[in-house]
């Protein structure tokens, strides 16, 4: 009977396949693992920011002949897994990398939740975890718990403060008032930011005239935009995720929201954002920013486009690449894949990266862009922690 043979075949391949888990290969490469979303709700973001930089870095290091260790150059063997934006799958995959594939290092995950969920695994096996897309106010507690974790984009408080500071600057020039309409996506990210931002805005002398959240996956943001518009704000701040960043911007254009500052958090820095909206987003603010004028950034962006076929984004793309540069230099600095030594090396040294010199104080890096703005078709950094050459911020002048 056809079905029985098919069942037998399936069972046989199951057995054969289970023998395939955990076959390790010989050691003339440096094995580096990476687990991140390739499908699921966060895949849209990780496909733009995370994966291309991993592939770019591995490609470039291998093109140079590999990592320079004491016993010769060794190429990087990248082992990747799709976590489907599912923490349970992610944890299993991280364990798999550590115990079955026995990788030498793991690239830190994408997203605060995934970084925190897998931190115990990294800590247990001594992997340094140079987190990029992890923003939290519990950094002191986390660095104490996990001695191998490093944060590169700062805390929730610094994230929100940066927005407050840039708005304060715009107001101080006399050209903008004090009313803010604030909305946030009702997910952990948006919730934390909104909660942190409220007292910060108040302290800076702003009045929050509209303060609402919206569920993840809302299909019609027009009631929110209309409500915000009706409160007659001077500035609009949205702690948003990519779909709503696009949605809110579309609504702002449709409703012709008249504000001097328009900020949407995630994905404002995406090249797609600039492409879809063109000139109408001139003056739009968003999380991140870059200084595209430095030779290092220019070379990086060119390479990114050539090797991955996609343009780098205007925020965490560079940071992700930087985190890998740090890892690379630490490994080469130690000269071996000794994780403990590499982790210590990261703590003790300064690294030359495309974003300048990076070093970690108490496992935290204090050089990153916080706020960027679209000016003339390019997303420039206008505010940062410790980065030079911030471009002066301009006011938003309409949506045409």
């Amino acid at each position: 009977m056809k079905r029985r043979t098919a069942l037998k075949l399936a069972a046989a391949s199951l057995v054969a396949g289970s023998l395939a888990i955990g076959t390790a290969q010989a050691g003339d490469t440096v094995k580096i693992g990476a687990v991140a979303p390739k499908t699921g709700p966060l895949a849209g973001g990780s496909t733009v920011t995370h994966w291309p930089n991993i592939h770019l870095w591995v490609h470039e290091v291998n093109a140079r002949g590999g990592l320079k260790l004491k016993d010769g150059r060794k190429k990087i063997e990248l082992i990747e897994y799709d976590d489907q934006t599912n923490p349970g799958v992610h944890i299993k995959a991280a364990q798999r990398l550590a115990t079955q594939d026995k990788v030498d290092f793991i690239v830190a995950p994408y997203g605060t939740g995934f970084n925190l969920a897998s931190a115990p695994i990294y800590a247990k096996h001594g992997y340094p975890q140079i987190a990029v897309s992890a923003i939290s106010d519990k950094i002191p507690e986390l660095t104490k718990r996990y001695p191998g974790i490093f944060f590169t984009l700062g805390s929730t408080t610094s994230f929100a403060s940066a927005v407050s500071d840039i708005l304060t600057k715009m107001r101080a020039d006399g050209k903008m008032g004090s009313k803010i309409a604030m909305v946030n996506v009702a997910d952990a990210f948006g919730i934390e930011l909104a909660e942190t931002a409220r007292p910060i805005f108040k302290k800076a002398g702003f009045e929050i005239v509209y303060d609402k959240s919206y569920p993840l996956g809302t299909q019609d943001l027009s009631p929110i935009m209309k409500g915000a518009k009706a409160s007659k704000p001077d500035a609009f701040v949205a702690w948003s995720y990519p779909p709503d960043t696009f949605g809110l911007t579309k609504q702002a254009i449709t409703q012709n929201l008249d504000v001097k500052a328009f900020y949407t958090a995630v994905a404002t820095c995406f090249p797609a954002y600039g492409k879809v909206f063109g000139k109408s987003i001139e003056g739009n603010l968003g999380a991140g920013g870059v200084d595209p004028t430095t030779p290092a950034m220019k070379a990086y962006r060119k390479a990114h486009m050539e090797v991955t076929g996609k343009p780098a984004d205007g925020w965490a793309s560079a940071n992700t690449y930087v985190s890998l540069q740090v890892l690379e230099q630490a490994i080469e600095g130690v000269g071996s894949v000794d994780r403990k030594a590499v982790t210590q090396y990261i703590k003790d040294n300064t690294f030359k990266t495309i974003m300048g010199d990076i070093d970690f104080v108490d496992q935290v890096s204090h050089r990153f862009w916080t706020v960027g703005q679209w000016q003339g078709g390019e997303f420039y950094g206008v505010a940062s922690k410790g980065m030079p050459n911030a471009k002066p911020v301009i006011l938003k002048k309409g949506w045409k």
């Binding site: 990747e80 507690e141 997910d187 990210f189 934390e192």
Partner: protein, 309 residues
């Protein structure tokens, strides 16, 4: 207790003992898989306690699970963990009772989608509450509990679920459920309080699901409401239980283990096409195993006993 039952009990105890030894291997990977399997075994067996006899497919598992997770996440910094577990269990039972009362008049696909809508409504409500009342409380669960602890806790819970299932099967409640499952009108005519029976069983499954959510909260460290209440979980539980077959207490167990291993194989070997291969594997399973794995096993046993055809 008959000798057959005694034999089953001994086998069960031995299997549990063996399973409990897993964390001693020290291999984090196998422990992680163990936690995953234990979690799904508990969820799908308790799901089948209700849905098996009544043939009502509930997609509300994620709602109870998320409730447990959120209770722990919100209280972890102020209330002892054990107390939070008890609260989760009670909350799960209460919510299940309310839902059970509400769904009495529904049947078939209306019940299915109703439970789905319910789970989604709770998800949105909790996100809103988290946003307006919780802030960043209820998002971090920083404990010293490791996967080993969680594994043993889940194993204990699994033992409890199997005990309850076995006891129900022998009790009047189980008898009533079997009649209800075959023909509800007949059951009512026999004087069985169908409503109460259904609600009681639903409460058991809800309570267990909430406990699982509470037990697993420390594993995630950072709780995102939309992931805690992910509807995918409800579907997975249903599929694994149906795969294993719901007629026997150990049916879902037999569905969970191969399914999890299959999932693991696919995820490990097809990193860039995971979802695609998963989908195809799914379709194959549906075609090749119509009565569930248990059904197939029993068929082959029956043939074997008859001397093979």
């Amino acid at each position: 207790m008959t000798s057959r039952e005694a034999r089953t009990l001994v086998i069960a105890v031995i299997l549990f003992g063996l399973a409990a030894l897993l964390p001693l291997s020290g291999n984090g990977y196998f422990i992680s898989i163990g936690v995953t399997i234990a979690m799904y075994v508990v969820l799908s067996t308790s799901w089948a306690l209700f849905s098996g006899p009544t043939h009502y497919i509930s997609l509300a598992t994620a709602a109870f699970y998320g409730l447990g997770t959120m209770i722990v996440a919100t209280g972890i910094e102020t209330v002892p963990y054990v107390v939070l577990l008890v609260i989760s269990a009670i909350a799960g039972a209460v919510m299940a009772a309310l839902v059970g009362l509400a769904t009495l008049r529904l049947s078939g696909v209306y019940f299915v989608i109703f439970t789905l809508g319910l789970a989604e409504m709770i998800r949105q409500l909790v996100s809103w509450l988290q946003n307006n009342l919780g802030g960043s409380r209820g998002l971090y669960v920083l404990t010293d509990l490791t996967e080993d602890h969680i594994y043993w806790e889940l194993l204990a819970l699994a033992g409890f679920v199997f005990l309850i299932g076995w006891w129900i099967g022998r009790s009047r409640l189980g008898f009533a459920m079997r009649i209800i499952g075959n023909d509800e009108t007949v059951a009512a005519h026999c004087g069985i309080n169908t409503a109460r029976s259904k609600i009681l069983l639903f409460m058991v499954s809800g309570m267990v699901a909430a406990l699982v959510g509470a037990l697993l909260a420390p594993r995630w460290t950072y709780i995102e409401p939309n992931i805690a209440f992910s509807p995918l979980l409800s579907f997975e539980v249903v599929i694994m239980a149906l795969l294993g077959g719901t007629k026997r207490l150990w049916g879902p167990l037999v569905g969970v283990i191969p399914f999890t291993i299959l999932l693991e194989l696919i995820e490990a070997n097809y990193p860039s096409q995971t979802i695609l291969v998963l989908g195809i594997a799914f379709l194959l399973i549906v075609y090749l195993v119509p009565q569930g794995v248990v059904g197939r096993l029993e068929q082959s046993f029956a043939k074997f006993r008859k001397g093979g055809t």
